[in-house]
Subunit: 140 residues, 2 copies
Amino acid sequence: MKQPGCPLCDAPGGRVVVQAPRWRLVHAQEPGFPGFYRVVWEQHVREFSQLVPADRQSCMDVVVAVEEALLRHLQPTKVNIAALGNAVPHLHWHVIARFDWDSHFPGAVWAGVQRTADPQKLEAVSARLPALEQDLLARF
Amino acid sequence: MKQPGCPLCDAPGGRVVVQAPRWRLVHAQEPGFPGFYRVVWEQHVREFSQLVPADRQSCMDVVVAVEEALLRHLQPTKVNIAALGNAVPHLHWHVIARFDWDSHFPGAVWAGVQRTADPQKLEAVSARLPALEQDLLARF
């Protein structure tokens, strides 16, 4: 069921990596954060707890698979996982590889800028995304 | 296993509401956010995906129970859930009742201040926490 005017009902919310019947995985295309993906639940659901238990588990299994792929392929300092949805209340999980050299570390990506990230380091992360995404595609 | 110097191995990280063998629920005591709780995993684990599947499910069951209690008792505009851990890499989930009148809405609680929240509204939320916490205590 689509919600009229919802940005995540009307559009993918990023570059689609995996489209499954109940969810999609998109690359967020957020400048400065090449290892930033989103798991978007297909149905317009507001809160995570509104999913039935089996769907919650499926959803978190995808989030965990993305986190594992980020850890394996990018060796980040930390992975951040969040379902906020204040601006777009359609269930989506942010799964973000964070590096101690990135523009906002150790703050949240929604917090203030701390430094300019080295473009070469950002490019090196981006270069590893095709293999990471192949891995995820093979898993689902 | 405790990690020397880890703030969440050394201290509860808030006012303890429920202490279970594998996790604890604490009230975060963050000014401006009375409906802010944390589910802290007892063992020092860095990333959510490092938990075995049964522990991941137990952990998310607690997160979901807290979210449901926030929705039922506080009627927030939105609930925010996040496991970041950049500053304190010991697995903990933030579960936060957000209101369209709070100081940071619709931004993340880690983003910039947008307004001063009405102290009476904050007090009205705080007044509902004892019943909310009794409900959670009865559940676990």
